[in-house]
Amino acid sequence: MSGQTVAEKILSRHAGKPVAADDLTVIDVDAALMSDTTAPLAIKAFREMGGKAPWNPERTFLVIDHASPAPNERIARLHDIMREFAADTGAVLYDVGEGICHQLMIEDDRVRPGEAFFGADSHTCTYGALGAFATGVGSTDLAAVMLTGKTWLKVPRTIRLEITGRINPGVEAKDLALAMVGKLGFAGATYQAVEICGEALVPMSLDERMTIANLGIEMGAKAALIHPDGLELPYDFDAEAISPDPDASYVREITIDGSALRPQISKPPRPDATVDIDELIGTKIDVAFIGTCVNGRLRDLHAAARILEGRRVASGVRLMVSAASQKVFLAAAKDGTLATLTAAGATFLPSGCGPCVGTHLGVPGDGEVVVSTANRNFRGRMGNPEASVYLASPTVVAAAAVEGKIVDPTELEG
């Protein structure tokens, strides 16, 4: 038997026996997550299954973030269903404004390396940043996790993606993530796990690793597991348990030269329609959006502030900013970032998912062009099928906001 990939290692521990790629197995689940898009249906299915309380209330998380605060009475009622469920069962609730679920799970130490974490949100793959096997499921699968503490799955084959060289100044984790999606394609990792490693990753903070793992689902990956080389966490962890064996076997091995990477942009309406920024210089924009579970962290707001310090958003352009959590917002308030961005003309939105998923808070108009730090630019994604969305890093979005068009941000950096 050959050595194990990271997915095989983690899933073997949770299956209670050695499992290998393509095996069907039942595993023990460590934690479960729902948002206000998925929790109401999950709670309904859980009740129909005969469920009273989740198998482990302390590790069952409900986050009100997708339409938060409630834009109408119908959604307010859905939020109440979540609050009542948490109060009745002891499940953990994060209410309006506390933040985006994926930010909260990591910020609040709700997920640890080597765990099996199931979330009813496709970007649950973000926790691969710290070596958790974390994957998105639908509401009924999540209800089944709450009922049984288990799920069934097929152990995925793994693609190994190595980013060689160091990325250049002005190139960010988001550029690397978009390049990765462009290289593998929209369905390039469907049914598979991706291990991401290489010299470019080693110096990256947990925040940056989250940005990269987050986009795993944009290539269809079941899990996006970043090797722990250089990973720093505020507690001790077993790096060996989240690293592959030297003789692990991969279905594909792919390399990207990080040192040659330019800032990247994904063109509408596909996250994998990735090009070098140079191809899009001069593209006029109407809306700039910085936030989401990809790029709403303090580091991202700092990147935007470096561009916007002492400048103004171009006339006719709307810049919206949403911190990924209340903690991020508070830190940005304390260190002056909030003032810098507001002075430049930014409008701050509550911490949440609203604009990215088209629920509320900044739906673009017909024919408008948005440049956004989000992970998806599907038709209608931001709530209007007649608008188009370009995906980019916080630095590129901030620079576009200043100039009213896509520009090479190095021209604005002192």
Binding site: T37, I75, A120, S122, G138, T140, W152, F186
Partner: protein, 169 residues
């Protein structure tokens, strides 16, 4: 669940994401008819009016990519789609469809045009294009998925079995 039925094909292309199946702005509801009213509207605004209960949705590769929203297969099912046949599916959508009792068949070489009459045989895993008089074999599903679909979905499956049985995979 009926294991053999016929329906008229509505054929669309590759990479149809869950946002186009049901937009995020419509997902926040427990009234499933609201979902059905907006199904596929950003792909084809006329789909809803063309759809007759029992029709079959046919798509290319990577159907249902993107969000984990179970509202996507629910919208299709409640609108009256009897099955989705695609070259292949995005993983979460495929699981969600089975879990809510919407038959999904992966048929890599299916040839069909909109309006063709299809016969779906779930037990045999065969899609027959009655208009073109051709048979196509669907990829095999794990036994657990066959069992879940057979019982009409995961709620019924777990009500009956209580939990997952590793020996029944």
């Amino acid at each position: 669940m009926e294991s053999k039925f016929t329906g008229r094909a509505h054929v669309y292309g590759d990479d149809i994401d869950t946002d186009r199946i049901i937009a995020g702005k419509y997902t926040k509801t427990l009234n499933l008819q609201d979902l059905a009213d907006h199904v596929l509207e950003d792909l084809d605004i006329d789909f809803r009016s063309k759809l007759v209960k029992g029709d079959v949705l046919v798509a290319g590769t990577n159907f249902g990519c993107g969000s984990s929203r179970e509202q996507a297969p629910l919208a299709l099912k409640v609108a009256g789609v009897s099955a989705v046949v695609a070259k292949y599916f995005a993983r979460i959508f495929f699981r969600n469809a089975i879990n809510i009792g919407l038959p999904v068949l992966e048929v890599p070489d299916l040839e069909a045009d909109s309006g063709d009459e299809l016969e779906i045989d779930l037990k045999a895993g065969v899609v027959k294009n009655l208009t073109k008089n051709a048979d196509y074999k669907a990829s095999a599903m794990p036994q657990v998925m066959i069992d879940i679909l057979d019982q009409g979905g995961l709620v019924a499956y777990l009500k009956k079995n209580g939990t997952y049985d590793a020996s029944a995979l």
